[in-house]
Symmetry: D3
Subunit: 254 residues, 6 copies
């Protein structure tokens, strides 16, 4: 049993509040345990300079934590005058994860920016951001499909993310902050609805890990991500879910 | 009648959700119409260098908007690498307003940082931030009073804020974004529970205003701020309200 | 009597030296007591990107203090690598004040930048900058009117500024640095020749102020600004003064 | 066969020139194919503020590419005024990898900075930097052990790194730039001499990858890293190699 | 004859207004032709970190141009967020020139910052700054000598500066902007009262210059600097002049 | 005899390794004693905005030192977020020196950027950079002449650089770091193959220097630069050497 009473293969409770922001083209407020993130999708009818004229769209992400999202207040990056390495690493990760399931040609020459703002942090902020941002993006893209009458649905598959780690020698799913801070191995996994890996980022700074541990962690992650994708489906509703499934030629999950 | 059906002297509905953040010493989520701001108070047992050794505390504020708080997405100031002039002006204003009702000697050599993060903007974000930040600060200071057994209560009085302006030649209270963008005169007022002015900031860039207009606007603001202070009292509850009143030697509001 | 022998309703001596800079399209060196500011107006035949194609002009201002304008040397903002909040607040104020009396349509698609550089500071640097910048701008605009043969005179009215404050419980006009640093209430007022308010910025961080105090301060400010406008008229000479008056349909001041 | 004639499980030729810099406490010039990196280790008898007083040392890394290390010249980050996200991500990775095999208590309160400057880039610059930086660090630490007469040898094990990826549907070892730019899956692996994972970073932005592909890539990476560690041993010479092996209680590699 | 009627070996008229700033420990307003610079000296009873504890003082300089000092307005470096290369080069030059005639041991552990702010530019702003800054510094140091009762006079000698160049194949002294912009060779020279060189900076970007031209330019510069030093003596007055001369054991200039 | 056994008029050994970088249009690795610099030339078929449409080319330079090029590690300018004054001064100098021997009209509307990265520093890094950069640039320009079939050879003459200084009262050629740090006078000279001066930068911060000393230093510099130019000729080979000589109408050096 873990400190919050969960089994090693159990995720924290998940709540996804949709249409959280009245201005954004897509938005959710996602809570995974006490980690809470606002994800908004902004659609713009232009692409960054390096993408111009290729007939393709672009998806990018920005990530930030409110100063007091954490136990101790962090100085704002705007006040410091620069983004930290951790922030840059996370927003690059979120962007890659989202693009892995988007058909940029089908999207057409427009861009979607996903803003992931962490309101409260308790471990797993980057994986929660990815899971939430997918939903916000799906709402926004579904709206584009209707408004612009796109012929091909630009989302290839569902995609979710979770963290796993070795805490007190036990591989565990969905670490909270307390667990994360004493984990010897820490891994973030991003996976599609079809069960393929988009990202595997495992680090054993405090203690290198064996192949056997890696295998156990990946299995836990797969379970957790399937559960996250079921939450995404519930939040998006049956119609959008069906359209994504059809685009991915995937059989309905039972 | 205004576009949203209000009278010229009527504020929008106000909701103050207290203890919104599990880490902060004081926090609220304040909604004034569709303007929504998270205010958190962080207490630190040290003061900035310029205040050291004076036996006095310090109160300061930071203000930010999520990129998609607005109709059109704004670039993050962290990504730009600097705070804009508007942000700096607003956070200086919030800090001055809060300090005007705090007895810094009674607070002792510690500092309180109020973070005001606008989740959704629909006019009046700076005045809503001030009104909400007062409540978050009061929770934090009341906790210090208990934890540190302070002899003198460090809050002198209630303090709230509202915007007023001249819209289509009519002085109006608590402008929403649509009204604000067509107002010829725009004024933000900060006032104490005792009805004294802390800040009066009126600007008539598009059309200078007469003394008569100024008088009407100030009267509207006074009404609005009294209403905001009643919301603050309800959010803080009778005990803290009583302690602030006693410190200000003010008679109870009926 | 005040520390420098003035009455409470008396301004310091004012000197405006015109055509102070041989390169600028308009320039003055303004001295109000020991506060000394160089104001230059630069005309450019283009507008900022956000104004393009609207057939309107733009007026903006920048403000800076030489490092040793003050009793203690201040680090240069260029060396710090960023503008401080106070600087940004002041240059936004100067810009708004100037634009309030300029007909941007009549000016045509060109921009005027007013640089206000404080050579020596002794209180009231922002109000002195506004008063001086108006004169530099008027010279520059009058030159444009001639050079480009404009049909409509783009200046609507005179506009000046002064500070007022409550010093040792007495409302006083045009505070010097010593007075300013012990004032409990500090207010900057910008007013047109027709006696309408452009900006009212009063702050009572150290002590909130009553409505009666506000009224007294506004009355003092009005007197002071009328006196500043008479100095502006003298500096600009009868011809330009006449052209501005005619454009504002204002009767000649006696 | 690959475009440069290698087998899929074959690394490029490796050359490690030791003592490349006359000032640094440890330094190498490492060449893996046409990728060339200068790695220098700087020892300082102090630790960063967040590590002070813990009796432990610190190891950190910085990474940079000369502007013309690449086919097209890149603007210097010093000229841009900030480090890019890719640079930050890489230097964080190098630092974690190095710390994973250093006993910071045994090192004592001193810090080692590894500078990895890419002179010429042809794929695998981050993994080559890690492999080279280990050797430079080992020289520097071995020198500290002698100079300061440390009782416990602070290096726990060898550690090397290599990239793997799926190129034209074939898992390949040690990608060059041409291969890397068309790889659908790209993975960087860091492993200890004992065959444990320090970092696994796989990304399938262009095409998610299956568990079977992941397994093949990890097997290739293990082979490649063992080969890199043999090059490190040769560069460090038998004495330092023996001391590291003894510290890791590892049997001699045959 | 030159475009402004001067002989090739003639400087422009020089005016040095002393005690120009009421706050600074030393200050002048120097005009050389239409080039006008305010130089202020600030004394602080501390030295920069790298000088601490050596019992020596420090002299440094900062240089800036008002945006409209030039024919076309220049963007402020504070607004750009960084100092340009030209500015840095000039302020390093001014600092070295001033330190060359100051006995830093005799000055004691205190620092003097010379701010050179160009009000109007017409060629020779860096040499005019050096000549003016010497006078401001001498007033400040003379004051320190009295206030702190220093035993040894810390100024070794007079020091002045001028520009020379080859304009239309004729070596000329003290170029104005028009001449400077068409000069093929441009040289700035700093020299002591004793006739020794402190700095010689000649550049022939547009046309390399011969040894004969170099010799002619150096001779012109010597004449010009002697004339500048006479102006410095007149501005400082006979007492300070006498104290500097005595410290340099130099015979009185006739 | 000097500390490293050289005569006062003797340079350190020079090695120029050509074609050091496989990507750059021209590149050398130059070693002057223990000072080692990589110089690469990048050709781009466009010019900076301020040069557009004039039918002329542009040559510019950037300079940087690896953090551990020096005895004590220097913080990276990219990490500091800005270029230092010394760096800016040096890169401006290198750029001017290179442009002095390039016919920008003959080069045509394209630009060449010379990157000078100091791998190891032991005095004379700026002069070594200039000498090496000339060779890298000559390779790049010679390639342009062939590829674009230019009619007029764009290099006017050879150009090299060396430092001289007064060490222990003796004028010396080509100072190493130890000598440089105790030199009272320090001078960098840039000269063409025809023996004309491009830059003379002498500074006597610690002790002003006489005209006689200046003359001795210039004579030493001339000898040293002739020797550097012979090394450049050897590195470029007889064909390119001949083409440059022919362009400069200079007789062959015996």
């Amino acid at each position: 049993m873990r400190s919050d009473g969960r089994q090693t293969n159990q995720t924290r409770p998940v709540t996804i509040t949709t249409h959280y922001n009245k201005h954004a083209e897509g938005s959710v407020f996602i809570e995974v345990g006490d980690t809470k993130v606002i994800c908004t999708a902004t659609v713009e009818e232009r692409v960054p300079p390096f993408m111009k004229g290729q007939g393709k769209g672009w998806v990018t992400a920005e990530y930030s934590m409110l100063p007091r999202a954490t136990q101790v207040r962090n100085q704002r990056e705007a006040a410091k005058g620069k983004l930290g390495g951790r922030t840059m690493e996370i927003q690059r990760l979120i962007g890659r994860a989202l693009r892995s399931v988007v058909n940029l040609e089908a999207l057409g020459e427009r861009s979607i920016t996903l803003d992931c703002d962490v309101i409260q942090a308790d471990g797993g902020t980057r994986t929660t951001s990815i899971t939430g941002a997918f939903v916000a993006m799906a709402f926004a893209i579904d709206k584009i499909v209707k408004d612009k009458n796109l012929q091909k649905y630009p989302i290839n598959d569902f995609m979710g993310s979770i963290s796993v780690g070795v805490v007190q020698d036990r591989p565990c799913l969905d670490l909270n902050y307390e667990e994360d801070s004493k984990a010897k191995v820490d891994m973030n996994v991003v996976m599609t609805g079809a069960g393929k890996f988009v990202e595997v980022q495992g680090t054993g700074e405090d203690a290198p890990f064996s192949r056997a541990e890696l295998d156990e962690l990946l299995a836990l992650a797969e379970t957790g991500i399937q559960s996250m994708i079921r939450e995404q489906e519930a939040a998006l509703g049956p119609d959008i879910t069906e359209r994504i499934r059809r685009a991915s030629h995937a059989p309905a999950r039972s």
